[in-house]
């Protein structure tokens, strides 16, 4: 296995040392008199276990503090671990194995229990904070990520990313009592400070008309009635991430990092800047409706500067007094510290009738961002200690936690979580993948358009063509693409090296891009990306009745009337099962639009197609059904006009299993 040393400018304290301000006698007290104890049962040593010969990196993504702030709990998505860190000694004092790909965490109100969402297991691990062992495993929905309890700790809210809903789990029984629809690809969640509401933010925009700017959603759940009371539209943005509610005395609004793309403009405009901007939604109560329902005003402000961008906002937190808010830029390795009083002053100048007045202003951030602190690689989750003196930031790509001194507004130290010390090619490729510094003015990283570990952003983009509205194509996933070359909708890129090397440099990043070594490692990483377990597949792997009938339709050779279907018009001809359900060629299936320069498009692989709405090369089919009910009038995209509705439903049920 190839390993690299860390040669890049990673200037962090990796020793896991105590804070520099800590006197020696305090250390003696802590260690000698047993005030600090390791969590007895769990292992505390570094985990150097490997998977398939590759080192098992930790990749911390989510953090929570115990109620008194003495322990920091760290969720590590690549190692299926939750770590406990003593916030005084900065040492890892416990680790516990949870389900596959843990992503979210919440501490029960009494501090005795942790709940950790396991995205790829579809479960929640309930962990006893004393023994630091898993007490029970609860069933959630599809792809659970965000997680919170209600104020009383009796109900658990789990955001199911792939299910597009929220599971409400009664913690007295451990059973799910209901699921509430939460829009398209919801990921993160927060309980309001008064405990009356749960907010859910969506990574991807609503699946709507492809030629319109995206609209994202914040779902509001009434915790008393346990129903969705509002679906707040956040216009023009995608990738709403973590939610923080600034205390009432400091404004009482929600801050949610977002990406604001100009995807309908030609990508060539990236070289003028202002193409992909990064900021935060400011959603604040604005009185009540006549029915007594809380109303919200949505404003948007950018965190970028005019000549430099802070890509991929991710974590958000605010201090208990509400003076400061912190937003991590995961692609820029920066945490922005916001003076909420200054932000308030700016927001007060926004006319009520123009809530989007600041949405495109690159001169706003300098008015309220007071510090840009460099973190470790790929900062994700952030939390603030209960006393407001410290903030902790999970650095996913170097297995560390940055500690921010909130009095001095500087990075005080870095906690080494004990991941593998060498850098594999795939890991280095992953670091590149999340790094926006390769792009002109830092506007985007690979992960910007391929969020959620290489997935897609659900948008259509006007890529190389300089004319507005020409050759608009839908973004494609990177998950499970090994063996599906060529790439791009026009099939012009024969391999990933071309895609990630000169093409990325010239057409996307507008910079010198990655060097050949970096391209190789990036390619290694992309090839390692896997699709999540398919929830449409039954646990025993057998097809249901409808899925089996759909499979027969997929492989049929005759129409319902018994006529022979020409081989090239059969489903499996283009979507060949042995090569990931793509023949890896370009085909004309009658889907070209008026302003497309080509008629033939790359046959997309079908694996994971259930999660990839919208469909077709320009995203005009909003559902799988529409591919055939609306956009196959001449049977060019397979012979389907003879099929009845039951057969079409069956076919789609089968496709969802791929």
């Amino acid at each position: 296995m190839k390993m690299r040393s860390k040669t890049r400018d990673l200037k962090v304290n990796r020793g896991g040392t105590l804070p520099s301000c800590m006197p020696l006698f305090a250390l003696l007290l802590v260690t000698g008199f047993g005030l600090h104890r390791s969590l007895g049962v769990a292992s505390t040593g570094p985990d150097q276990s490997s998977e398939g010969g590759s080192p098992r990196y930790l990749s911390p993504v989510a953090l929570k503090l115990s109620p008194h702030g003495k322990r920091l709990y760290v969720v590590c998505e690549d190692s299926d671990l939750v770590l406990a860190v003593d916030t005084y000694t900065h040492r890892v004092i416990g680790r516990v194995k949870v389900g596959h790909k843990p992503e979210g965490i919440v501490v029960s109100p009494d501090g005795r229990t942790l709940y950790v969402s396991n995205e790829w297991s579809g479960t929640v691990s309930e962990i006893d904070t004393d023994s630091f062992q898993v007490r029970r495993t609860l069933q959630a929905g599809w792809g659970p990520v965000g997680i919170t309890t209600g104020r009383t700790g009796k109900m658990l809210y789990v955001v199911n990313t792939l299910g597009n809903n929220v599971s409400l789990i009664d913690l007295s029984t451990g059973q799910e009592v209901k699921r509430l629809d939460a829009g398209h690809f919801p990921e993160y969640v927060a309980l309001s400070r008064d405990g009356k509401r749960v907010y859910v933010s969506n990574l991807l925009a609503r699946v709507e008309r492809y030629d319109q700017p995206p609209v994202s959603q914040l779902t509001v759940i009434d915790t008393r009635r346990q129903v969705v009371t509002q679906r707040i539209a956040v216009p023009g943005v995608i990738q709403l991430r973590h939610i923080t509610e600034v205390p009432a005395r400091a404004g009482g609004y929600l801050l949610i990092p977002f990406l604001r793309p100009k995807n309908l403009n030609p990508l060539i405009q990236l070289q003028q800047g202002w193409y992909l901007t990064h900021g935060m939604a400011v959603i604040r109560p604005s009185g009540s409706s006549r029915e007594g329902q809380q109303k919200f005003q949505v404003m948007e402000v950018l965190l970028d500067d005019i000549d430099h961008y802070y890509a991929d906002g991710f974590g958000a937190a605010s201090t208990p007094d509400g003076r400061w808010a912190l937003v991590t830029a995961s692609g820029a390795n920066i945490v922005s510290i916001i003076d909420t009083a200054k932000l308030n002053r700016l927001l007060r100048r926004v006319p009520p009738e123009e809530p989007e007045a600041l949405a495109d202003r690159l001169d706003s951030a300098r008015q309220f961002v007071v510090r840009r602190l460099r973190t470790g690689r790929n900062p994700t989750g952030v939390v603030v200690s209960p006393d407001g003196r410290s903030a902790y930031i999970a650095n996913r790509m170097d297995d560390t936690v940055s500690v921010v001194d909130m009095n001095q507004l500087k990075i005080a130290s870095t906690i080494d979580l004990g991941g593998p010390k060498g850098i594999s090619a795939a890991r280095f490729g992953a670091q590149l993948f999340f790094d926006a510094s390769y792009c002109y003015e830092g506007q985007l990283a690979c992960a910007t358009c391929h969020p959620h570990g290489g997935f897609e952003d659900g948008l259509v983009w006007s890529l190389e063509t300089p004319q507005l509205g020409r050759d608009v194509v839908e973004n494609r996933t990177l998950l499970g693409i090994a063996g599906t070359s060529p790439f791009k909708w026009n099939g012009m890129n024969p391999n990933l090296a071309t895609q990630d090397g000169p093409r990325a440099a010239r057409y996307i990043f507008r910079s010198e891009g990655f060097n050949s070594m970096e391209v190789k490692d990036l390619e290694t990483f992309i090839r390692s990306l896997r699709l999540p377990p398919n929830p449409h597949v039954t646990p025993n792997g057998h097809l249901t009745g409808g899925q089996a009938r759909g499979r027969a339709i997929f492989f049929r050779t005759t129409t319902n009337a018994g006529s022979l279907i020409p081989p090239q018009e059969r489903c499996y001809y283009c979507h060949a099962p042995l090569t990931h359900y793509t023949s890896r060629v370009q085909m004309n299936v009658g889907t070209a639009a008026q302003y497309d320069n080509i008629k033939k498009f790359d046959v997309p692989q079908l694996e994971g197609v259930y999660m990839r709405a919208p469909y077709l090369h320009n995203g005009k089919a909003l559902t799988l059904e529409e591919i055939w009910t609306k956009f196959n009038p001449k049977d060019q995209h397979g012979i389907t006009s003879d099929m009845n509705k039951v057969q079409l439903n069956d076919l789609i049920e089968f496709l969802k299993t791929l």
Binding site: G163, V220, Q230, L622, E625, T629
Partner: protein, 399 residues
């Protein structure tokens, strides 16, 4: 009289100071003296009607569904929401609903979502926003949606091309029609749901009952085939043209309304009713509801009530119901209650207010009150136990 849009019209009461003309026949007298008050059939003498003057869109009210203090009414021109007796919203395709004509409404008590069957597809109304499911964009069998019901995580949809079922957890659709279930006719109209079964009323196909645990269908059809006569009174479902269906968890009976009479099935025996041998106002029935011992039949000639235990019938309708001139109906506003004893004897009560129209399409319960969808507006029947007791007491005193 002009009424402001937000003010429902209390027909009759403003003009008539609670004038109640009661024509007691011997039948009612006997009824009143032989039954204790608690067992008396309800007598709704106070009606509030919601029409165009109250803010309703013009046209028929096809359905009504009560959800606490909220009342949903499906009309020919959109979905109407009433809260605390006032029209709060009128939702049309401009607001995002799938179709103009709203045929059915079901409320998911778990999620609070409202599912709406329209002639343009299925809509989910959640947190003030619609999400639509159509034949082209989803697995819905057909866009002509007549009925909708919620059973756990499933939404059942009655369409002109069979029954569709949406799993709200997975987004998967199932279609049940003549290809995979004993459908004589795929044109489905209405649902009733119990804990273990889903009952489907089919236009021309009788009743189909789906066993949820075992995933099989059981058909109930008219033994006489499609004949419009009944050879033996209680031999089976009274007719295959089923317009509505109800399940009563207390009696464990299901009731089917047909265009040729009313049928009830208790799991062993059928109980059929025609106008010729009961107090049913008409054999042409658009919908049926049941709770306790009560069975309500929505007919083209009024709203009929059956006390299943005593076989006493009560029918409500405007007193000039034979005159379909809406202008005259509005001017009058009075109604009549016809009570039919088990022996067939009838008595009549005149009421100062009445239903908006005699053509009844649907009804629902709100506590002791009832809401009735008619061809010319929505009617709210207000329970007045003291008034009813006075009527019965008066009858006993007259004796």
């Amino acid at each position: 009289m002009l009424v402001s849009p937000s003010q429902p019209s209390l027909q009759g009461t403003m003009r008539t100071p609670l004038r109640l003309c009661i024509l007691w026949s011997a039948g009612l007298l006997i009824l009143a003296t032989t039954r204790v008050a608690a067992q008396n059939p309800p007598l709704y003498t106070k009606w509030i009607n919601y029409t165009k003057a109250s803010g309703f869109p013009a046209g028929e009210v096809f359905c009504v569904t009560v959800d606490g203090n909220r009342v949903w009414a499906g009309t020919e021109h959109g979905l109407v929401l009433l809260e605390n007796g006032r029209v709060k919203k009128v939702l049309t395709p401009a607001d995002g609903i799938a179709g103009r004509a709203v045929m059915s409404v079901a409320v998911d008590k778990r999620t609070g979502d409202v599912w709406v069957g329209t002639f343009g597809g299925l809509s989910r109304y959640s947190a003030g926003q619609f999400k639509n499911y159509t034949n082209l964009s989803s697995g819905l069998a057909n866009d002509l949606v007549y009925g909708v019901a919620v059973q756990g995580k499933y939404v059942w949809v009655a369409t002109a091309a069979g029954v569709s079922r949406l799993n709200t957890d997975t987004g998967d659709w199932s279609i049940f029609n003549e290809q995979n279930a004993p459908f004589n006719e795929p044109w489905s109209y209405a649902f009733a749901v119990s804990q273990k079964k889903v009952y489907v009323g089919l236009w021309g196909g009788g009743v189909l009952v789906y066993d949820i645990a075992h995933h099989y269908w059981r058909p109930y059809t008219d033994p006489d085939g499609s004949m419009e006569i009944v050879l033996y009174r209680n031999q089976g479902l009274i007719h295959d043209i089923v317009s509505g269906i109800a399940y009563n968890p207390e009696t464990k009976m299901f009731w089917a309304s047909t265009y040729f009479g009313l049928s009830g099935y208790d799991g062993r025996n059928w109980h059929n009713y025609l106008t010729k041998d009961s107090g049913l106002a008409s054999n042409f029935i658009n919908a049926v509801k049941s709770r306790g011992n009560d069975v309500w039949a929505c007919t083209d000639k009024g709203l009929s009530y059956l006390d299943y235990k005593t076989n006493i019938w009560v029918t409500y309708r405007p007193d000039n119901w034979r005159d379909l001139d809406s202008a005259r109906l509005e001017k009058n506003g009075r109604g009549e209650i016809v009570i039919t004893k088990p022996d067939g004897k009838k008595s009549k009560v005149e009421t100062p207010t009445s239903l908006a129209h005699n053509y009844i399409l649907n009804m629902d319960f709100q506590g002791k009150d009832i809401w009735v969808a008619t061809a010319q507006g929505l009617s709210h029947g207000i329970s007045q136990p003291q008034k009813e007791e006075q009527l019965y007491e008066s009858a006993r005193n007259r004796r």
